[in-house]
């Protein structure tokens, strides 16, 4: 029997599609009640496949997954009753009004008849769609559609909400509003949220904990600051005029330099105590007649965490 205190528990989850594509190979993580948990990774990493299995839309090939103690493959109906799922592609009916979509969803989710109207109008108000609730969804903007979808995912007051790439296709303003809405839900409704994203800043700002997923595996997991502190060093970026590979070799062998990585005309270094070492790096290069056009110095970001654990930069994957 699974512990009921854990909202989502995934153990060794694997998924191989019929065409032989191995989407997930042994993913494990857990999410506590009331947490916002992020699955962060590039397209094709296995995020959507994981969420589809957890929301009972897809069968797992191996491993175990439990939602609030219910096994997703053995008790799908119980799981469906207590979770809400908002897909990446819009699942709304474009030729029905916003209100009709919500009403239908409420009925399908078996919301008690007497509560339906109240809840639907409350949700419409909350997502700011009351004034357009009688218009066809076809006339909505992308942000409005997404807010309607989220309202639909919430109509039966689920304990667990799955959001697959919730902010894809949203402008920065709508995205910011969505984040605030999710934070509000967490605070007011104690709802557990599992979201997938390929926006580092989203994961950083929104999530209590993150699992970075790459090529069907969880490469690392923890709170955003835990992950950042796993990189003990600072990041120095040097833009080099010429002879970049020679420069890289010189820098690699210096004291205090932990690693170097060439990206175009720049070298990214992980260094211990960056503030102190930075001048000596530049002096050393100038001594070998290599010019440094610019330099920058950063504390680690999630992007750097990503780089460290996957061996490649995040935006190269997208």
């Amino acid at each position: 029997m699974q512990k009921k205190e854990i909202a989502i528990n995934v153990e060794n989850l694997s998924k191989t599609y019929k065409n032989g594509v191995k989407a997930i190979s042994g993913v494990s993580f857990f999410v506590n009640f009331g947490e916002i948990f992020g699955l962060l990774g590039p397209n094709g990493a296995g995020k959507s496949s994981t969420v589809r299995i957890l929301s009972t839309l897809s069968n797992l090939s191996d491993g175990n997954a439990h939602i609030a103690g219910f096994n997703v493959s053995k008790s799908p109906t119980e799981v469906r009753l207590l979770m809400g799922y908002v897909a990446q592609s819009t699942g709304v009916d474009a030729w029905a009004t916003g209100k009709e979509n919500l009403l239908l969803q409420a009925q399908l989710e078996r919301v008690p008849r007497k509560d339906i109207n109240k809840r639907v109008s409350h949700l419409l108000e909350w997502v700011g769609l009351s004034s357009v609730s009688r218009k066809l969804v076809n006339t909505y903007s992308g942000g409005m559609k997404r807010r309607l979808e989220i309202a639909m995912g919430l109509v039966h007051e689920p304990k667990v909400l799955f959001l697959d790439e919730p902010s894809t296709g949203l402008d920065p303003e709508s995205r910011r509003k969505l984040w605030n809405d999710l934070k509000y839900l967490q605070k007011q409704k104690k709802i557990t949220v599992l979201l997938t994203t390929h926006y580092l800043e989203e994961a950083d700002y929104l999530c209590d904990r993150i699992a970075i997923i790459d090529k069907g595996r969880v490469v690392t997991e923890g709170t955003p600051s835990e992950l950042k502190s796993k990189i003990s060093s600072d990041i120095v970026t040097l833009e080099i005029e010429n002879e970049i590979s020679i420069a890289s070799n010189i820098l690699k062998n210096l004291n205090g330099v932990n690693s170097t990585n060439i990206e175009g005309d720049r070298i990214v270094l992980q260094v211990t105590n960056g503030k102190k070492i930075l001048p000596s790096l530049i002096i050393e290069l100038q001594r070998k007649s290599i010019d440094v056009n610019s330099f920058s110095f950063n504390s680690p970001t999630l992007d750097d965490v990503y780089l460290k654990f996957t061996g490649h930069r995040f935006d190269q994957d997208i």
Binding site: K18, R52, S55, T56, L57, S58, N59, T77, R80, L81, M83, G84, Y85, A87, Q88, S89, T90, G91, V92, D93, A94, W95, A96, E100, L103, L104, Q105, Q107, L108, E109, R110, L136, M152
Partner: protein, 249 residues
């Protein structure tokens, strides 16, 4: 039930769609009716008004074609993620298919009534009265629900519009012409007669036409039973296809 309402609302929002599906039978009824007026003079033709002969045939043909396209809506649902959303709720899996089939039946009912009225205006009298009309409607609904279930099943298996369109176009017209929809049974070639014996469209045409004349109710009942079996098999096929679809994910 709520799903049925969804489909129905969607259809009512597109009155142009009802108009388009009605244009075709209107063309059949008026143009064919006029063009082949003299066919009834061929010795052996068992009716003396071609429009009266044609009307039940057009009702059945419209029911079949209209319903055969109902899988298209299903494919849109698959592609747009609507199906995923439905499946992530605890909704009864059978209801998803049933709502489509019921909606197709409802559409067939409305269309058939309109065609019958049109036929009446053009001179097709239904001698057997209300019972005859009922017989036509039942056979139209049965063939319609059968074909919509068949179409839904194919949609779930093929998952692509192009495939479904190809299949419907490939089978639709031949099934109509390999029946007594346009020509008296007494006058169609023997080989067509043999094929039409196994053709559900012909069962429906035969049931509808015999309902109009009201002379041979046993044929009507027998053919309606055949149609019911056809419809049930088609529905069974659709539910199996749905299971296969869910498993393939």
């Amino acid at each position: 039930m709520q799903l049925l309402k969804r489909h129905t609302l969607a259809t009512l929002r597109l009155p142009i769609w009802i108009a388009v599906t009605l244009v075709q039978p209107v063309i059949w009824l008026t143009i064919f009716g006029q063009l082949f007026q003299k066919v009834v003079e061929i010795p052996g033709f068992d009716s003396n008004s071609y429009i009266a002969f044609l009307t039940p045939g057009v009702v059945i043909m419209t029911a079949m074609f209209g319903s055969a396209w109902s899988g298209m809506g299903l494919i849109y649902d698959l592609n747009l993620g609507v199906m995923d959303r439905l499946l992530s709720t605890p909704v009864n899996r059978g209801a998803i298919i049933a709502a489509r089939v019921l909606h197709a039946s409802l559409t067939v009912l409305v269309q058939s009534i309109i065609i019958l009225v049109l036929g009446y205006i053009l001179g097709a009298k239904i001698e057997s009265g209300i019972i005859g009309i009922l017989g036509i409607l039942i056979s139209a609904i049965l063939i319609g629900s059968g074909f919509s279930a068949l179409s839904s099943g194919l949609a779930l298996l093929t998952k692509r519009e192009e495939n479904l369109i190809a299949i419907i176009n490939f089978f639709g017209l031949p099934l109509t012409f390999l029946s007594a929809a346009f020509m008296s049974e007494a006058l169609i070639p023997d080989w067509v007669k043999v094929i039409s014996f196994f053709n559900p469209v012909n069962w429906a045409v035969s049931a509808a036409r015999n309902s109009i004349s009201g002379e041979n109710w046993s044929i009507v009942v027998f053919n309606c039973l055949l149609l019911l079996v056809f419809s049930l098999i088609a529905y069974f096929f659709a539910t199996i296809a749905f299971k296969i679809y869910q498993r393939s994910n």
